[in-house]
Amino acid sequence: MATVAAAPSYAGAQTRRRSVIMEWLTTVDHKKIGALYLHTALFFFVVGGIEALLMRYQLMRPNMGAVSAELFNQLFTMHGTTMVFLVIMPLSAAFFNWLIPLQIGARDVAFPRLNAFSYWVYLLGGLFITLPILWQLAPNGGWFAYTPLTTEYSIGQNMNFWVLGIQILGVSSLAAAFNFATTIINMRAPGMNLMRMPMFTWMSFVVQWLIILAFPVITIALFFMQFDRFFGTKFYAVSAGADPLLWQHLFWIFGHPEVYILILPAFGLVSEVLPTHSRKPLFGYPVMAYSGILIAFLGFGVWAHHMFAVGMGPVADTVFGVTTMLIAIPTGVKIFNWIFTMWGGTIRFTTAMKFAIALIAMFVIGGISGITHASPPSDLQQTDTYYIVAHFHYVLYGGAIMGIFAGIYHYFPKFYGRFMDERLGTVHFWLNFIAMNLTFFPMHFSGMLGMPRRIYTYDAGQGWETFNLISSIGAFLFVPAFLIFFYNFFRSKKHGIPAGPNPWDAPTLEWSIPSPPPEYNFAQIPVVTSRYPLWDLTHPERMADVPHSQPDMDLVKQRTGEHVTASGEHQPDVAPMHIETERKTAQELGIPMPTPTLKPFWVALGILVLMGSLPVMYAGHKVAAFTLMAGGAVLLVTSLYSWLTTPLEADH
């Protein structure tokens, strides 16, 4: 990762000189971990994308023989799994890491080492679940792995990698969620009360709760599947009287909140981009926050809309149909508030802004198709067809991915101190926008014209040829789009036009410090008195009817410390809202930084080995399996113990 070049790192208190590798392996700096997440996720995006391209090639014409049935099943399973768990969630995590502490005026997350741990678990788990496809051993049960196809009727290692891999990734997401939620609750700068948090932080907060409450359910469902596959329990064994719907319910109780886990961070990013680039405050801030909460809450009561065809009976169908439709209301509020944020503004069509606007335009299409299958009877004609595939690509690609691209272009100057090239960005945007509609819009038609999903081939003369051809052409149009993006991304890190601390004239704290931010983020924590602290300084005129209030400064003073700079003068930790221009090292400022450590990595590795021992057992090598198990356990326990018993900072 060449990012070090652009992000000069300030060695903490007692750190020896380290090789670049070690520096990244041992970092506990939320900004570097953010970078790790971003680059890893982009790598997996290419993987998932290539999987998609292979599928699209096979489906380009009827009765194609390019991809075998077995491989195709692995392709869509891994494509879905990759895009959901290894691309969008980590891309969001990259922004959580990078932005949350900066936006709330903190020097790091609540538990820096836990943060590093989350990343390493994600990386190792990601490789664990992805690599088998090279041997055509990849999971092949679909991304929601319905039983009993994936238990009683699944022979071979394939699904073992899935059940264990998702289990591992769950650990990562949960650890990160506790970390960020704590950070947001407890580490906001003085005066930054909840209703002054930037909207991205708000949506992130909601997402952490979704993770905290949804992931335990899938964890249990996965444990059942794990036990069934490895220890012969009967949870999903239909032959023993098990109900084939148990898995479906448990999965979707997790699965639907999961889709909001995927979209809300993007909503948050867009809520930062739109106001900034139309030079206007976010329209209806409180409603935006509450609608986010409402979407998340309702999200727990709609899961069975994925199961309308299983015959749940009229009562359940009615209830889940109606609750699902309700979600349109808070989401609509967001859409209209965004539009009215731009209303009356002066819009700069930066690349970030283009992507943000595209999100509104495209997500609405996906949302509306969502409503059409929220109606159980009409869903009977839609479920498991390409119409569904169209729906979720409009919300996922047209929603989540568009929003994340907006975020990348918007925050790149903050992360790397340089702009991404706007001209290339514009080309990327239009290619991407056209490719997306070309690929996914025809799927509405092929679906409603009877094409089932997850088919590796289809017969000629079914009336699907045209649409599949268009879809495939569109899919390949993504390749130039992405290549341009990657070129722009990596080139701009070194050669982009330098950007100041606040290139977009944005209103929130992260823009009040140098770009890229020094490792301590804020030499002095700013005291926040309004929702747009930076505009208080730069654009007082915009702040006329924004509520202001001073926090209880005595309390703040009594609760904050001071640090002694190298030159010996005492610096209070807090200072009134200000813009920091000069960058010193943490040493010079006397701000104690957490010491880099390898322990989180070892713990993560321990978990991987522990889980990895099970497929070995499945293959019949008992001895090897138990040695691995024991080894992993020892590694896990010992490194965890030494982690917990060493203080965060050397000088404590």
């Binding site: 023989g65 075998s68 077995e70 049960g141 319905y146 196809l149 009727y153 239909v238 084939p244 139309s278 030079r279 206007k280 329209f283 801030y285 065809a309 015959g311 169908d317 009615t318 149909g321 109606v322 439709m325 309700l326 349109a328 509020v333 209209f336 508030n337 539009i339 009215f340 731009m342 209303w343 009356g344 503004g345 002066t346 819009i347 335009a361 299409i365 509306i368 059409t372 109606s375 159980p376 009877p377 009409s378 009977l380 498991d384 056209i434 509609n437 819009f441 409603m448 014209l449 009877g450 089932p452 997850r454 081939t457 289809y458 017969d459 003369g461 009336g463 649409f467 005129e541 924004v546």
Partner: protein, 415 residues
């Protein structure tokens, strides 16, 4: 900037452009869900129209608003925006408006739900649907018929399907007749029913829609809606054994075949030679499979001409076939793992709608089914063929092309 705005307008119209284009190239769509062959589908279509009506309203309102805003308020030098932070009246409006729209969608939705979750009329034709990896078994309990992969339905009648599965979850779907239902349980059944229009004499495609393993894509079936009289004729014929082979000429069965002949001699009297079958010539193009034959299977088609049904019967009755397939009138052939072959010759497709039911396809299927349909249970049987599942070449006990030709002749005589 202006040009950006204009290009954006163009771009936001992309979906509409598509609609236009596709409306233009209006090919015919044999599996379209927007058809009028049952009143179930008519109701669903009405529901769909209501939703599309509102969907268009929402879509147009949002996109037009959006385009207006980005064109009207694109950056102009020196223009400092007015800084409104919200407007309660507005926000209440666009909270209530969607709510109202949703009521208009929810009410017909709920009505439709309760209409089709009620028990069907008593006089309905009953069909038991059983999903297998990867083919469909159909039973008509009222007629005592068991068949596979091809449904005959009487036009104008109400039909009830009791859907279950033999193994994993499948999903039973005839896009042009009704919504889909999953074959979820092995013991409990899932119900679906609809009333056919009397007019609709036609042939439809059906498919499995729940991912069910290797050949999920190849788990198709055919539906023929026929005149009630024809249905009765078909049913009467299908319920008994086929004419051929019920009373074989004496003495042909030598050696180990003997036992077979003895048994065969004691069979019920033959039924009318041929009942109604959906006429091959009037099959619409979309129900005729076009799956290419894998080159890997070499078979000398010349032999098919010389295939002898009687020898075929003998070979069949001595081969593995009988372990998996049932043929009424052939007391050796009692298997239930595979489709019932009693009237295999009266079907237009084999292997769950994957291939036309013609000798050359049938022969290759028997020779190496697994090379023709990924993962099927029916193992490779031809001599010298490679079984892609067991990764072994069949030598001992493998069927020669001549034997296969005979078996084909036999099966083809089971009208």
């Amino acid at each position: 900037m202006t040009c950006t705005a204009r290009r954006r307008v163009a771009a936001a119209l992309v979906p509409f452009v598509f609609l236009a284009v596709l409306a233009g190239c209006s090919g015919h769509y044999p599996n379209s869900t927007f058809t009028n062959f049952t009143e179930f589908n008519r109701d669903l279509r009405a529901l769909w129209n209501t939703m599309m009506h509102w969907a268009t309203v929402v879509f147009v309102v949002v996109e037009v608003l959006l385009i207006y805003v980005i064109v009207r308020y694109r950056h102009r030098s020196g223009a400092e925006p007015k800084h409104v932070h919200g407007n309660t009246a507005l926000e209440i409006t666009w909270t209530l408006a969607p709510a109202v729209i949703l009521v208009f969608i929810a009410v017909p939705t709920v009505r439709t739900i309760w209409r089709y979750e009620t028990p069907p009329p008593a006089d309905a034709v009953q069909v038991d649907v059983i999903g297998h990896q990867w083919w469909w078994e159909f039973r008509y309990p009222q007629y005592g018929i068991t068949t596979a992969n091809e449904l005959y339905l009487p036009a104008g009648r109400t039909v009830t399907f009791s859907i279950r599965t033999q193994d994993v979850i499948h999903s039973f779907w005839i896009p042009q007749l009704a919504g889909k239902r999953d074959a979820t349980w092995q013991k409990k059944t899932n119900r679906l029913w609809f009333t056919l229009d009397s007019a609709g004499i036609a042939a439809f495609n059906g498919s499995c829609n729940e991912f069910c393993g290797a050949s999920h894509a190849n788990m198709r079936f055919r539906v023929y809606t026929v005149a009630p009289a024809d249905f009765e004729s078909w049913a009467q014929h299908q319920r008994g054994p086929a004419a051929f082979g019920v009373a074989p000429p004496a003495g042909t069965a030598a050696g180990s075949g003997g036992s077979a002949t003895v048994a065969l001699a004691t069979n019920p009297a033959p039924l009318p030679v041929q009942g109604y079958v959906f006429p091959r010539e009037s099959l619409p193009d979309h129900v005729i499979p076009k799956t290419p034959l894998p080159e890997s299977i070499r078979f000398d088609d010349a032999l098919l001409a010389s295939g002898d049904p009687q020898r075929g019967l003998e070979t069949y009755s001595r081969s593995a076939c009988i372990g998996c397939h049932r043929i009424q009138g052939n007391p050796m052939s009692l298997g239930t793992i595979g489709p019932d072959l009693t009237h295999i010759a009266s079907r237009h497709t084999i292997a769950a709608g994957l291939y036309p039911n013609e000798p050359r396809f049938m022969a290759r299927w028997i020779k190496n089914a697994r090379a023709m349909k990924p993962g099927v249970l029916m193992n490779t049987l031809g001599k010298g063929e490679f079984d892609p599942v067991t990764k072994a070449v069949i030598e001992a006990g493998g069927l020669t092309d001549q034997q296969i030709a005979d078996i084909v002749a036999y099966l083809m005589s089971l009208k």
